[in-house]
């Protein structure tokens, strides 16, 4: 069943899958998996009963069920299911089912960004990768920013009145996946309206000295279509070709030209030739291949059946992976390179990556975007908190500080991943005056000024912003070395800690989950719908004690993957401020805290000792597992492992290729990891390796899923 339903019917991959996961006797859905489910699962997760709202009798090997299979695999592997009260399944049978699910996931990775880890790390990095990589032939709707650049490519001048037709989904993590987005009616309506506005601007004229001329930004080739007399066929074709090159970065074929002329002719009987011409120019802007990245593999095939991306496809893929703007000048280079062979193509792409990542003026926002989405510290601005009394609180500035630190580390391009985790430096409340004005020496100054106070009126001085980082004064030279043994790296920046906190508390659970998933490459199931996440409201206890509720039976199944990894960050309060004790409500003192009439005056706090210990368990690297004293030890230990770096590489793969990795990408990932290490931890080398990999360059058409 599995092999016949394989998404990528490459003999090489299947051989590898069998070696990796299955052994000699390949388990099948019908013979191995279905009987197992029937015997051990369906009673509680079937038509009669759906324990935990899980139903397994309708599962198939289709890709839409990959995620569920991943969860089943984890439950079986970790021995959570079937429950102990039920007769245990035969160990060999269980292994066979695990092997089958593993193979399924390896060939059809989950569609969603946070499902990438379902493919076990060992399968990708556990041994030498033999297969030649490839990706699925696919389309990928433009990033919202790329749409803006498309508009700019089509009409160079300022244009008001346009709306954003689509956005990215708001979930944390890597957001722009090829499988996540399509165009619906609401987007389409806006796209049509935008196209009308753009073409109107492209064809707008004014009267100058009695002559009708194009306005600023109008396209010369289109003006012939505005004359009262009918345009010649040649004028029509020129206009079509001009718009086509602007929108799709290639010339139109004869057949395409014929169809557009047909649309024009259809509009002429209305008596409005100009309107007909504008409609014709609008539809070119609505083409699927203008609004989607096309990566079908329309180049030549190689001996294994993989197909090259054509030069136009490749140009779009490379430039929209590195930034948001196309760069059609790369096409002729790629055409020439493709004739010379794959090495020349790789060299041309590597050069383009180098130009973008090292260019002083190049737009690196999409590159930086990876680190923002990976760490998600920029969400600090979305976590609502009341400002602490007498403290300045400006989460935007805390995010800006981390952003600046991240950019400096990325641009230094040395040991990037470890530096991000372990740097002892930080930017602190900093902006550069006149940063964007050329020729001026930037002067560092505090972005958030101390709050003024009037001691003569009895005001108490406000705590200054720098104090957030443990400093007494605004440091004029930055990045500054933070107080010894308090903070390390991005995960101990206030912005990250706030982003992963709740309104009034720290959030060890989600912090732990972040570490489990993004550093250790593990998986945690989503919170089951219907489970109310409740930490006890007993504020007389430290948060760690209140979180004990998760250690009960069924909660602990998932929470043991998270809580102990997140608890060391209790070193910081929920604003990300370093602390050595924890404030809890003093019940006795609070009871006495009343005014003369006996009215309660509010809670009184007392300081209790702080516990910052945690445990690394089930990390996949036995040397790593064990207790840690505090968050710094936790991060130092993890940062020293190959595994964490490789998991980072996997995330970079997902971001730049817009999909989860499959087993066919094992060589790509290993090569990228090697390139990164050999270049001394160079992120540029990593991106070059990913964008010149077989996974990036080659496509194989997907086979239809079984019904």
């Amino acid at each position: 069943m599995f092999s016949s339903a394989g998404r990528f019917p490459l003999a090489g991959l299947l051989v590898l899958l069998k070696c990796a996961a299955l052994g000699a006797n390949e388990p099948t859905f019908a013979q191995t998996v279905q009987p197992f489910l029937k015997a051990h699962c369906i009673k509680c997760h079937g038509p009669d009963q759906q324990a935990g709202e899980v139903r397994l009798d309708e599962l198939t090997a289709e890709r839409k069920h990959t995620h569920t299979w991943g969860l089943i695999r984890a439950q079986l592997r970790d021995g959570y299911m079937p429950p102990r009260r039920e007769p245990p399944p035969d160990a060999a049978q269980t292994r066979a089912v695990i092997a089958w699910t593993t193979a399924l996931i390896a060939s059809r990775p989950g569609r969603l960004p946070n499902h990438g880890n379902l493919l076990p790390h060992e399968l990708l990095f556990g041994g030498p990768a033999l297969t030649a990589g490839f990706g699925p032939a696919r389309v990928w709707r433009l990033h919202p920013n790329a749409y803006q650049y498309l508009v700019r490519d089509v009409f160079k001048e300022r244009l008001t009145g346009l709306s954003a037709p689509f956005t990215l989904q708001g979930e944390r993590g890597i957001r722009d996946f090829a499988d996540l987005y399509s165009l619906d009616e609401a987007s389409t309506e806006i796209l049509i309206r935008n196209a009308a506005l753009i073409v109107e601007a492209q064809t707008s004229t004014e009267n100058k000295n009695g002559q009708t001329v194009g306005r600023n930004g109008a396209v010369r080739e289109f003006l012939d279509l505005l004359a009262p007399s009918a345009p010649t066929p040649r004028q029509l074709e020129t206009a079509i070709q001009t718009q086509f090159r602007k929108a799709v970065a290639r010339p139109a074929t004869a057949d395409e030209v014929r169809r557009y002329v047909g649309l024009y002719d259809k509009g002429v009987p209305t008596g409005d030739r100009v309107g007909a011409a504008r409609t014709m120019l609008q539809v070119i802007l609505l083409r699927a291949d203008a609004l989607y990245r096309y990566e079908l593999g329309t180049g030549p095939a190689d001996t294994t059946g993989r197909r090259w991306l054509s030069p136009v496809e490749l140009e779009m893929a490379v430039n929209l992976s590195l930034g948001h703007q196309r760069h059609p000048a790369l096409v002729p280079t790629l055409v020439a390179a493709q004739q010379q062979g794959v090495a020349a193509v790789r060299a041309a792409i590597a050069e383009r990556v180098r130009a973008v990542l090292t260019g002083n003026k190049s737009d690196k926002e999409r590159i930086y975007g990876f680190f923002r989405e990976y760490f998600a510290y920029h969400h600090a601005t979305e976590v609502f908190k009341d400002k602490p009394a007498r403290w300045s609180y400006a989460p935007t500035q805390l995010v800006a500080d981390t952003d600046r630190l991240m950019q400096q580390i990325v641009n230094s391009d040395r040991d990037v991943f470890r530096e991000l985790l372990l740097t002892t430096k930080s930017f602190v409340n900093a902006i550069y005056k006149d940063e964007n004005k050329p020729g001026r020496v930037p002067v560092l100054m505090p972005a958030v000024k101390p709050i003024s106070f009037r001691p003569e009126k009895g005001d108490k001085p406000a705590v200054q912003f720098e104090t957030w980082y443990g400093l007494e004064q605004f440091p004029e030279v930055q990045p500054v070395e933070l107080p010894a043994e308090q903070r390390l790296g991005i995960l101990m920046q206030p912005s990250w800690l706030i982003a992963w906190s709740t309104n009034f508390e720290t959030d060890p659970v989600r912090r732990g989950r972040w570490i489990r998933e993004r550093l250790l490459g593990g998986t945690v199931p989503d919170l089951p719908i219907g489970v109310a996440a409740m930490v006890s409201d007993d504020h007389e206890q430290p948060f760690r004690t209140r979180l004990q509720v998760t250690r009960s039976g069924r909660c602990w199944k998932c929470h043991q993957k998270m809580d102990d990894l997140g608890l060391p960050f209790e070193q910081f309060d929920h604003f990300g401020r370093y602390r050595t004790t924890e404030a809890v409500v003093d019940a006795a003192a609070t009871a006495k805290n009343v005014d003369k009439k006996g009215k309660a005056l509010g809670p009184v706090l007392r300081q209790v000792p702080l516990d910052t210990t945690g445990t690394i368990t089930d990390s996949g690297d036995a040397r790593l597992d064990g207790p840690v004293r505090d968050p710094r030890e936790l991060i130092r230990k993890i940062a020293a492992t190959d595994r964490a770096r490789q998991v980072f590489v996997r995330h970079a793969f997902r971001y730049f290729l817009g999909r989860n990795e499959s087993l066919a990408d094992a060589k790509t990932l290993q090569d990228a990891d090697r390139a990164y290490v050999q270049a001394g931890g160079s992120f540029r080398a990593l991106v070059q390796a990913l964008l010149t990999s077989d996974s990036f360059l080659y496509r194989v058409a997907p086979v239809e899923d079984q019904p």
Partner: protein, 456 residues
Amino acid sequence: MIPTRRHLLHGLSLGASATVLGPIVDRLVAHAAGASAVAQRRVVFVVQSNGMAPAHLLPAGLERKSATTDSPTRTFTEHALVGRTLHPALAPLAPFQGRLALVQGLSNKIALSDHSSELGALGCYPKDKVLGATIDYQMGAVLGGIFPQVGVGYSERGNAYCFSASAPGRRAPIVCSPAESFRMLFGSVAAHQDRTAFDHRTNLLEFMADDIKQARTALAGEERQKLDGYLEAFENLHGRQAQLAARAAEIRQHAPKLADKQLKNATASLTLEAQFEIAAAALLAGLTRVVTITSGGGGQAFGSYPELGIPGLHHIGHGGGYEDKSAQDCFVAIRQLHTRLIAGLAHKLHTQPEGTGTMLDNTVIVYLSDSGDSHHPTGKQWPVVLLGNLGGRLNTNGRYLDYPAYGRPGHRTLANLYLTLLHAVGKPQDTFGVPDPGLCDLDQTGPLTELLTARS
């Protein structure tokens, strides 16, 4: 025999011009035919940011049983509104007092969040998970119309703003620019455009549907599905074009005449005013039967009303005032702006004859906040104002209803209210959204029977 007006209209409705005059003739015929005519039902959702204070629903002289007015009661209570004075915040609705139901005590804790519950307010599920079609789209699916739902509103954030979903995972945007919502609904008959522009658009949609169909053939499997939505969009829009063409006269008659000040750099008040006008016109012209009008909300974009001396709603949400106005004064002022607009909408519907009565008789306006009962909601109560009885299906003739507090026997949720609406339009179902796990001991299914009439 001298034909009566009723005969004339009847003949007209069967004649060739019927397709052009469609709804207006339907309505006149129905008006002439009397009670036997099938009336069209309509729902308007008005969703406002920063919470709906329970106190604003309390008429003068009424108190809630517990110590403060903001705490819900232990048992179900009901009072007639007749002879009572509405809270100043709702005073503009006084002309419709006999058509109001002020509903307190419903919860929607499943959608609880910091501020706005976003899609949770109309969907009754956790804010971040678009688990199904929201109530406005579900009503739209039953009630029909050229546009199954029209979502317009005001936001500081521009257009990236969603309170509704048409299906699981499919957010539907709120159009926040009046100019844009006008173009969407009335562009086909706008003064500066003529039939030609409309025909060009028809050609464009037809061409694009064909173009995407061709593009699809190059793709396989799931990749093809990524273009399906795009294709479907062109096909639907093309179909809608034909419907709009058939009703051009009707639409032209109702197209709102917006002032420049409502369209360019408009204040929040003017933007809302324009959106309410457009929404009313869309209902009068028969373009849609379900409108969602939103004001602020979504993340922390609450809104800004410098024209009322209230530059920031977040500030007042935290108890801050402006100049001589307390936070409560500001809340009342903002509420009055909205209740005035709602009253204006109700008035327009009331002046339009339909069946034996008016359009308002067949409508219900559901007014609530995306943020429950306050700026920082608990989700344990979610006050709702209902105006209109949906063609006699709802009992909203001047009532104040207070359901038992969260967790108490007889406690009901916002989902139950939405089930009531579905029931009232002939689509009864047991559950809506995601049930609240905190209420697992209570029955969360079915409509609010107190609000249904014998006719439903």
